[in-house]
């Protein structure tokens, strides 16, 4: 059974980790990567050190069970993006 998604790039519909050069990291379902922003749907964000957890702690936990979506839609400015990775490719543990 095929997809209903239009051609918005390889990451469209994929759950990705968007790390920034600052304190924030975002995880959500990629809508589109544009020259201006990475647009995520149903995303959760975490700030380094918040609730005693590092960004890596947050990413590892998400890789195990997923995320609790708190942001219906978020645009992360491309200038702040340090990396984009598929959550499914983050090693568990």
């Amino acid at each position: 059974m095929g997809t209903f998604h239009s051609d918005k790039g390889d990451l469209h519909g994929i759950t990705v980790v968007v790390d920034t050069s600052g304190k924030q990291v975002f995880i959500g379902r990629c809508e589109e990567v544009t020259p201006v922003a990475v647009i995520l749907n149903d995303a959760e964000s975490h700030e380094e050190g918040s609730e005693g957890k590092s960004k890596d702690d947050f990413i590892r936990r998400a890789a195990q069970i997923g995320i609790w979506p708190k942001l219906a839609r978020v645009a992360v400015p491309r200038g702040e993006v340090a990396s984009i990775r598929r959550l499914g490719e983050i090693p568990l543990g």
């Binding site: 998604h5 519909g13 069970i65 499914g88």
Partner: protein, 144 residues
Amino acid sequence: MPYPEELVKPMREELTGIGVKELKDAAEVDAFLGVKSGTALVVVNSVCGCAAGAARPGVALALKHASKPDRVATVFAGQDTEAVAKARGYFADFPPSSPSLALFKDGQVVHFVPRHAIEGKTPQQVAAELSAAFDKHCGKAATG
């Protein structure tokens, strides 16, 4: 907003056609998951081609494995919202995602496969992970 039923029907039938019981409302979910003995797999189906396109045939392949759950059921995210909400209540420690797969043993979730663990996988890869979980938690049984 739900997709037109005629569009979704083949996706339902991909699972019901192999003997997976479809749960359409909260009462059906409670009747299925209220049984606390034995093993049960719940497939949260979805229209999403990124992941559900591999999840459904992956489940079908896994159910041909020697070890399998005693009972298998499915709810359809975005379509049968009452049933999905009720089912998710039984694995509330895990964030909602669809498609996803929850394996129960004696009423407890013993293995959960969230959407992101299915994205980009082939049906064979999904089946391999599921079969490994079946080997660990289930005996040999018929589906239904």
